[in-house]
Symmetry: C2
Subunit: 252 residues, 2 copies
């Protein structure tokens, strides 16, 4: 199968959220990223050099494989270093039944903007056995190539749902909804449940007013020493990680 | 003071490690980053629009201030969005006396490559009261504009020292040297000291062989559940954060 100019353009355009939404597709770039995801998403195309396809002939992608040149891959890539392979997948449609979250621990992101931060949160959630992440509609798109890359394969195991966050949290009434705030209670002293929602806010503005009103348990990660003059805050990926680690340490 | 073409070129070139080393200078970009750092480093130049200088006249930078146009700032910036201000500082010379580290907790980075990761580690170290970070010589340069940006001001409070890591650790004989490994002991069960070195490795390869030999306490951050099929690892910034949080929780 030969690559047409159209296919090359379509794949390049998947770096842009507008074209991802229009086509319902996204891409994974690079050998590790493709091998981590290829069994978990519906493959549309696999663009690779003939050498790559030869080495990975065991993948049996058959008619989905398109042999391309290194120059083609450079044109189609959204990364600064062009990969040896690009997979184009159909976006999964998970459907979110809020009730299904009642028995587990879920992370909710309220307006996280940085692709690296979202990717890191997904990777960390995976490590700590969180299977669902809720994202407010103004959170960065999870199918951005940079996010996919930063998840290091965890995108195959964690379901990310975009929704009206306040509305969804209200439907989960009765469950504890945790959030970190500068005036929250010390996370090491507060009771933590192994079922609930942990809300993390935007990098600069934190948790929005409408979501903050629904939080039932306000937490704080104490600096050291407690009265130190420190950075004003922790990075959102770091705060999520410390919070999840503490929930899991406590609930083992 | 009018900006010359030379100054514009010099400032732009500080995005490149080679020119930083040659000039002994680095830059901070953007209002927050400049205000967070200006009292802590020796200022060479402060480039800003006349409006910015007017609003921040209280800084009393006098003859160091250079009024420039927005177009100048775009040319001098290393960020994707040009800032309203760029400060050029002289790199501090700290001098490292390994013996001075004996009474405290220190982080050591062995080959960390990503500027965002290094910035996040510095920010997190600051939050947890770590005042010194040792970096192997192949760790990314701390004076990269992206690192400075990601520290969110913490670069003013944490001293970063580049050194031969094995050599420096050997000089600290008698202190516990911690590292995270897949076959390490569960961090929640192991004894942790409030004085020691915590070594974190390269994003892909982990801790190098020569440094691994000096580690006295091998730690592991357990996933949840313990037997889960998860990501192979945590992001280095995240692993540092969870480790530091646990050291500080234990030692309060």
């Amino acid at each position: 199968m030969d690559i047409t100019n159209n296919l090359r353009k379509l794949t390049a355009s998947l770096g842009d959220v507008k074209y991802r939404r229009r086509s319902g597709c996204f891409k994974a770039e690079g050998t590790k990223c493709v091998l981590d995801t290829i069994k978990h998403f519906e493959l549309e195309y696999l663009f690779a050099t003939p050498e790559w396809l030869e080495v990975h002939s065991g993948l049996s992608v058959n008619e989905k494989a398109v042999a391309v040149t290194k120059a083609d891959l450079i044109k189609m890539s959204s990364l600064s270093t062009a990969p040896g392979v690009i997979a184009v997948y159909r976006m999964p449609v998970y459907g979110l039944e809020p009730e299904s979250l009642r028995g587990s621990l879920t992370v909710a992101l309220d307006g996280v903007q940085d692709p690296g931060n979202l990717g890191t949160v997904i990777r960390t959630a995976d490590w700590f056995g969180v299977r669902n992440i809720l994202c407010s509609r103004d959170t960065v798109d999870v199918y951005s190539p940079k996010v996919i890359q930063a998840t290091m394969g965890a995108i195959s195991r964690v379901r990310v749902h975009y929704c009206d966050l306040s509305e969804t949290l209200i439907k989960l009434k009765g469950m504890p909804v945790y959030g970190t705030f500068l005036d929250g209670g010390n996370i090491y002293d507060e009771p933590l449940s192994d079922t609930g929602i942990i809300v993390m806010g935007n990098e600069g503005k934190g948790i929005s007013g409408s979501v903050a009103r629904i939080i039932t348990d306000r937490l704080y990660i104490p600096p050291y020493p407690a009265d130190a003059e420190t950075s004003e805050s922790l990075n959102v990926g770091v705060a999520t990680a410390i919070t999840l680690a503490e929930f899991r340490r406590r609930c083992i």
